[in-house]
């Protein structure tokens, strides 16, 4: 007996909800009508990401690690769906393991990246990492592993993210959003937009409230995006799609050095 399946409507993921593009537009990708995010969707996502920032950054590192680990749990539960929409089970396994790997970094970062500095004087001096802020990510291929590899280091450091999903393979990104939505990721910490890169990327790169930009997945005019990013001195990163290291996290961290006199 055949049964008519209930299809999913692929929408954006902003502020923990799944809105349609405010523009009402869609585009055809992987045989589905996928939301075609607009400049205004970028604006909304950035605003919400900015609002979510302080809360996420103020959460204890232990808690952030647990949230990330919970993301991995949710991915494991949706393994088959993710596999069907990405490069397959192997990509999903690697993506899940990557999230777990980064989850464990949350409460170790400050020890590895920070320092106590022996200055020549009666001062206690230490350096701690802090999140940069709202980070724009142009997710590289493969559509799941690329996205996760660039997103996880951004998030674990306490930043919030506005992600442009793979234009050609956006469905797995939305599937992944559903993992996020059920994994106690506070609304607005991760926002995922689908749509055309030529529309989304310049809007993200030019936004004055986006503090950092991951162009690893940029395929168009990188120079133009970097020029746009210069206007508010964005931290611009062009890494490897498959990288996994604490140095990836550090690329999206600020270092704050605090001095205090030592005296009686």
């Amino acid at each position: 007996m055949s049964r008519l399946v209930v299809r999913k409507t692929y929408k954006l993921f902003i502020g923990g909800a799944f809105p349609r593009s405010e523009s009402g537009r869609t585009y055809d990708a992987e045989g589905a009508n996928v939301a075609r995010g607009s400049r205004k969707d970028v604006r909304d996502a950035v605003r919400i990401a900015r609002q979510a920032g302080p809360g996420w950054a103020a959460m204890t590192a232990y808690n952030r690690g647990q949230v990330l680990y919970r993301v991995a749990e949710m991915m494991e539960a949706r393994k088959d769906e993710l596999a069907a929409l990405s490069g397959g089970a192997d990509e999903v396994d690697r993506a899940i393991d990557r999230v777990v790997w980064y989850a464990g970094w949350a409460d170790k970062l400050a020890q590895v990246v920070g320092s106590a500095n022996p200055v020549a004087g009666p001062y206690f001096n230490f350096t701690v990492p802090e999140p940069t802020g709202v980070t724009g990510i142009l997710a590289p291929e493969p559509p799941l592993l690329g996205l996760v590899s660039r997103l996880a280091p951004v998030i674990v450091g306490g930043n919030t993210a506005v992600v442009a999903a793979s234009e050609a393979h956006p469905l797995v990104a939305i599937e992944f959003s559903e993992c996020l939505a059920t994994a106690d990721v506070p609304p607005g910490v991760i926002n995922i937009l689908t749509g055309l890169r030529r529309e989304l990327a310049p809007a993200i790169a030019a936004h004055m409230d986006v503090s950092a930009l991951d162009l690893t997945g940029a395929d168009g005019d990188v120079a133009e995006l970097e020029r746009l990013g210069a206007e508010n001195v964005k931290r611009i990163v062009r890494g490897r799609p498959d990288a996994q290291s604490p140095y990836e996290i550090a690329s999206f961290l600020e270092l704050k050095t605090v001095w205090h006199p030592i005296g009686m």
Partner: protein, 498 residues
């Protein structure tokens, strides 16, 4: 105790109490420095004449007297310098044993210590900063910086766990005029320690200490081409930034120029670090150690004539102690000695250039026009030279230009706040994020404030302290990358997989 004194005066009349105690001039001798009539460009281990055939005059801003003729390096000159640096990188420096690199840097540190008085005098002569500061701050820190990074040269793998750091190549470095030699040290020391070679452009108005540094390079017997110095104005800097064979640009200067550099480098894949402007908040709580806080305010804004990117130019005073703090501050400002940079008792020296003096003047005028109340202590300024009286503005609104724009001069804007949250909010309400100051006796509040302030350096119960071991650099539009400490190596190395 006059009432218990007897009336018999044994003391001769000549010993009557004089009416004042004017400190006699105590000038540091400038004979220790020899300034050449003109300088070429330092390329490939020696001075060469500029192919551009252009020169300009560098002056003593305190006397408006010419000091020397300086080469204005053009495109061909910059190219020559980059080629020299490239050759030195490939053939001499990058494959030298790291422990040998370290010893060269140790040598430089020692030479700077040995010649520190000479450098200090030159720095004050060409830049206008008080000799007390160039002698006690700039020179010791510059030498310490080389000493610190010397030690890193053969220990880089310990700085980057699980990686084998490699040098990047040729670094183009552009530095400002406020701490000419110290900024040179901040740039050259980590670059060389990591195995890079450099082409450094000193600021247009303050090239002399960098040119004297070439003699230190010679005495240290550094291989030719490892350090190249090209002088000139912004055009020279632009040539360096756009040169295709430069692998990394490090810039310290204005946010405006920093953004232009970032745009120029867009898409090139060249590495970039920027240390840009600031408009730091210095926040005084009502429980602070007030006399020391006042010292911190003064040091925060009048140190080096306020030509400091991390200057505490916005003073936030808790309303409950506003009157007291202002009374103390004004009183303290009346003791500031403005004048000859070479006088050992000078606290505030000359403004670095006519251009900067005009800029400060215009911003101060805007403060008056916008309705802020100005205070300047009585002050006798020399007739010649560029001077600006230490200035404080009260009744300042957050929206005034003097509260928003970097003045880069001895001008303080005072605002008030009522609660810690308000202080954080106002302090962070700027595109900059280089530094901040907090004064309170309450430990938990210090830590909470330090956490809440979006700035790369937070000075708690102190201000304007620097150390080679301490990372320095900004948040937001104050730039990215750190100088100093282990973190200061990162901009000059490539890690695996990059």
């Amino acid at each position: 105790m006059t009432k218990t004194k007897r009336e018999v005066a044994r003391r001769p009349a000549s010993a009557a109490i004089p009416s004042g105690w004017e400190y006699a001039p105590a000038p540091e001798s400038r004979d220790i420095v020899r300034v050449n009539e003109s300088y070429g460009l330092y390329i490939g281990g020696g001075f060469v004449e500029p192919l551009s055939n252009e020169r300009y005059t560098t002056i003593d801003p305190a006397r408006e007297e010419p000091l020397s003729e300086i080469a204005q390096a053009g495109k061909a000159d910059v190219d020559r310098a980059v080629k020299s640096a490239r050759e030195a990188y490939a053939e001499r420096w990058s494959n030298l044993r790291p422990s040998e690199r370290a010893k060269y840097l140790f040598r430089i540190a020692r030479l700077l210590q040995e010649r520190s008085r000479e450098f200090a005098v030159l720095e004050s002569l060409n830049g206008g900063k008080p000799i007390r500061e160039s002698r006690d701050v700039d020179l010791p820190l510059a030498a310490a910086h080389f000493f610190y990074y010397a030690g890193w040269a053969d220990k880089l793998e310990y700085a980057f766990p699980n990686r084998t750091p490699r040098p990047i190549g040729v670094a183009g470095q552009i530095i400002p005029w406020n701490f000419p030699l110290l900024m040179l040290a901040w740039k050259i020391a980590p670059a060389l320690a990591a195995g890079n070679t450099v082409v450094l452009k000193p600021a247009e108005t303050t090239p002399l200490s960098a040119l004297l540094f070439c003699d230190v390079v010679r005495q240290a017997e550094l291989p030719p081409g490892v350090v190249n110095i090209v002088t000139g104005d912004g055009r020279t800097g632009a040539e360096l930034v756009s040169h295709p064979d430069v692998d990394k640009i490090a810039f310290t200067g204005s946010t405006e120029v920093g953004k232009a550099i970032a745009r120029t480098l867009a898409g090139t894949g060249k590495r970039l670090t920027l240390e840009l402007g600031g408009k730091a908040a210095n926040i005084i709580f009502d429980d602070a150690a007030l006399d020391q806080a006042v010292e911190g305010i003064v040091n925060g804004i009048y140190f080096n004539q306020g030509h400091v990117c991390c200057a505490g130019s916005r003073l936030f005073v808790q309303e409950s102690i506003y009157e007291t703090v202002m009374a103390k501050l004004k009183r303290r400002m009346r003791t500031l000695r403005v004048g000859d940079p070479l006088d050992k008792n000078t606290d505030v020296g000359a403004i670095n250039s006519k251009q900067q003096l005009d800029k400060i003047g215009a911003l101060v005028q805007s403060g008056i026009d916008e309705g802020a109340e100005i205070y300047q202590p009585p002050c006798k300024l020399p007739e010649r030279g560029y001077w600006f009286v230490p200035t404080v503005f009260t009744n300042v609104a957050q929206s005034y230009r003097i509260a928003q724009e970097e003045i880069f001069g001895p001008v303080l804007s005072v605002l008030t706040f009522r609660t810690p949250d308000e202080a954080i909010e106002k302090a962070n309400n700027t595109p900059y994020g280089l530094s901040a100051g907090v004064w309170t006796e309450k430990g938990s509040r210090i830590l909470a404030m330090a956490q809440g302030l979006r700035a790369g350096v937070v000075w708690a119960n102190t201000y304007n302290r620097f150390d080679p071991a301490s990372p320095f650099g900004g948040y937001k539009e104050s730039g990215f990358g750190r100088e100093g400490g282990r973190h200061g190596l990162e901009p000059y190395v490539q890690l695996d997989g990059e």
